[in-house]
């Protein structure tokens, strides 16, 4: 026992002190008593999700009808209707009701009420009747054909025929010759005849179409021979055509070799970082690594194309507000500039701006200037722009772009 600690009664050590100040599990660096439990705020706070949540219904809230209610219902409805009401009540589990009968308040909720039972032409994505349903060579049946149909019906009619058989026959009776789907599942207001790629309003005749298709197949097969598997899967994943991909602005910005140290020695591989943009607001960054430098380059370019995302641009020339990004030790700021200012930025960010279609910008890269991280930080900064419309909505205040108003939207 050290002299610094006062001597205590032996029995006192068995009974815990009222305060927890003596129960210190670790060395103390300051005289104030350590708190063993997690610190709680002096004044209670309320978490945002709890504050916003409305009263959620529970299964117990959905009670069966009482005798009084049943008596009241009996006045309004007939016995058969009451039976239907009871069956309906019994069919639905109150647990399901509680789960499904409340409004969503998550961020992905819809802004309108819908049960998705019908396709709304104005709101929902169009469902196009399959092209194969169309038959441009259909013909209306003649009277003779109908006579034949009726004759067949009467010939095949069973002995105890009822009216239902005739109704079924008339329902199934086709009015046209040709493909069945063309009559039964045609284009309509809900399923409008939107044109697919390469389709026109004056559809060529079957023979011409065949040759056109054959021609297309030939061309396609020629292209397919040139196309690699990677490019094919890129086209499939992104939905771009080979011509569109040829028009993208691709640039390999960082290239160096990387080494993996194994017990067998150093394994060198090539590393490439590329950007892809369409010059009109889309930009993506991709990295590739391979034994072959050319392979790494195409890999990184394809990844950049896959990663292309829209970048908000003010007046299609500069960015919204000043933004900053940080990756590793690279910290940078991108600053919006007036029209005609140009791209006064370092070459990596310059190439990114060119690819994305930004024309007026200033940048400052501080701390480290590692190339790879500079590109990534610039991308992060470009993606972190705040949309003024969103800001206005979030704050519930109207915001007006004075430049737009002053120049009557002609800027």
């Amino acid at each position: 026992m050290s002299l610094a600690r006062p001597a205590r009664c032996l029995f006192c050590s068995f009974s815990r002190a009222a305060t927890q100040s003596t129960r210190v599990p670790r060395r103390q660096f300051h005289p104030s008593p350590a708190q063993l439990t997690n610190r709680k705020p002096k004044f209670p706070n309320i978490k945002a999700p709890e504050a916003s949540s409305q009263s959620v219904p529970k299964p117990e809230d959905f009670k069966p009808y009482t005798e009084e209610e049943k008596a009241y219902l009996a006045k309004e409805y007939s016995a058969a209707q009451l039976e239907a009401v009871k069956a309906g009540e019994a069919a639905i589990d109150p647990k399901d009701l509680a789960e499904q009968c409340n409004e969503r308040d998550d961020p992905l909720k819809l802004n309108y009420v819908d049960d998705f039972s019908v396709i709304e032409p104005g709101i929902d994505r169009h469902v196009r009747a399959p092209e194969s349903n169309s038959d441009y060579n259909f013909k209306l049946k003649s009277e003779d054909d109908f006579v034949k149909d009726f004759g067949r019906f009467f010939a095949e009619m069973p002995d105890n025929a009822t009216g239902a058989d005739f109704v079924k026959f008339t329902d199934e009776l086709r009015l046209t010759h040709g493909k069945e789907e063309n009559e039964l599942n045609p284009h309509s207001a809900l399923v409008p005849d939107l044109f697919g790629p390469g389709e026109t309003i004056d559809e060529p005749r079957v023979e011409e179409r065949k040759t056109a298709a054959e021609k297309g197949e030939k061309e396609r097969s020629l292209q397919a021979e040139e196309m690699t598997d990677a490019l094919k899967s890129l086209l499939l994943a992104t939905g771009y055509t080979a011509n569109q991909i040829r028009d993208f602005r691709l640039k390999t910005l960082v290239s160096h070799s990387v080494v993996n140290q194994t017990r067998l020695g150093k394994v060198r591989r090539a590393y490439r970082l590329s950007i892809a943009g369409n010059g009109n607001g889309l930009l993506g960054v991709g990295e590739g690594k391979s034994d072959e430098a050319a392979d790494a380059k195409t890999q990184s370019q394809y990844r950049a194309i896959r990663n292309m995302q829209p970048i908000p641009r003010y007046e299609n020339r500069t960015i919204f507000g000043d933004v900053s990004g940080k990756v590793g030790a690279v910290e940078l700021q991108l600053m919006h500039r007036p029209p005609g200012f140009g791209l006064r930025v370092q070459y990596l960010i310059y190439e990114m701006c060119r690819a994305a279609g930004i024309h007026d910008l200033a940048a400052r890269v501080s701390r480290s200037r590692n190339k790879m991280n500079t590109v990534k930080a610039a991308y992060e900064a470009l993606m972190s722009q705040r949309d003024p419309e969103e800001v206005a909505r979030a704050r519930g205040r109207k915001m007006v772009d004075v430049r737009k108003v002053y120049y009557a939207g002609k800027v």
């Binding site: 978490k47 916003s52 409305q54 979030a394 704050r395 519930g396 915001m399």
Partner: protein, 170 residues
């Protein structure tokens, strides 16, 4: 006018929005109240209510406490309870991000920054003036303590008022 307390309020608001709090409290003072009301006017926070040490009851429809609660009534401030009063602020969130971004003190307890109208005009236009960086991002605002209470920088320019720069909100 204690800028020390205001600094802790700014830090607390930053921490509270990061912790996704819906309702939090700050010490009661006239400066804090005026600043919070200015923030509410700009739409950064949903409610400012002066209450006791426990959270005030929420409005059944609005979902946050209201300053003039007709159901529960407002406890009047007396000499006995004034020390225990706190300001309860309803924080807003939109699209999974807090509406009140970063609150940063501009004047410091050891260096108070005053701006006159000319300098404020430059700041509002996005230029730097008197050690204060310009307002260059959408939705960025600066709050000043003036003769006519705590006002946003653009309001100050409108009313041709200068004053002590309190804090910047992004």
């Amino acid at each position: 006018m204690s800028l020390v307390n205001l600094a802790s309020v700014c830090a607390h608001l930053n921490n509270a929005t990061k912790a996704r709090l819906g309702l939090t409290s700050i010490p009661n003072s006239n400066l804090h109240l005026k600043l919070c009301q200015a923030l509410q006017n700009s739409g950064y926070i949903s409610s400012v209510v002066r209450g006791g040490p426990t959270p005030p009851p929420t409005h059944p429809i609005l979902g946050h406490p209201t300053a003039n609660d007709e159901v529960e009534g407002v406890e009047p401030i007396t000499r006995d309870n004034v020390a225990s009063r706190r300001l309860w602020l309803g924080l807003k969130y939109w699209q999974n991000e807090s509406v009140l971004g970063k609150v940063k003190l501009v004047s410091k307890p050891t260096r108070r920054v005053h701006l006159n109208v000319e300098e404020l005009r430059r700041v509002v236009r996005g230029e730097e003036a008197g050690y204060v960086a310009g307002l260059r991002s959408p939705g960025e605002s600066l709050y000043l303590s003036t003769d006519r209470g705590v006002l946003e920088a653009r309001e100050c320019v409108e009313k041709k008022l200068g004053g002590l720069v309190l804090c910047r909100v992004l």
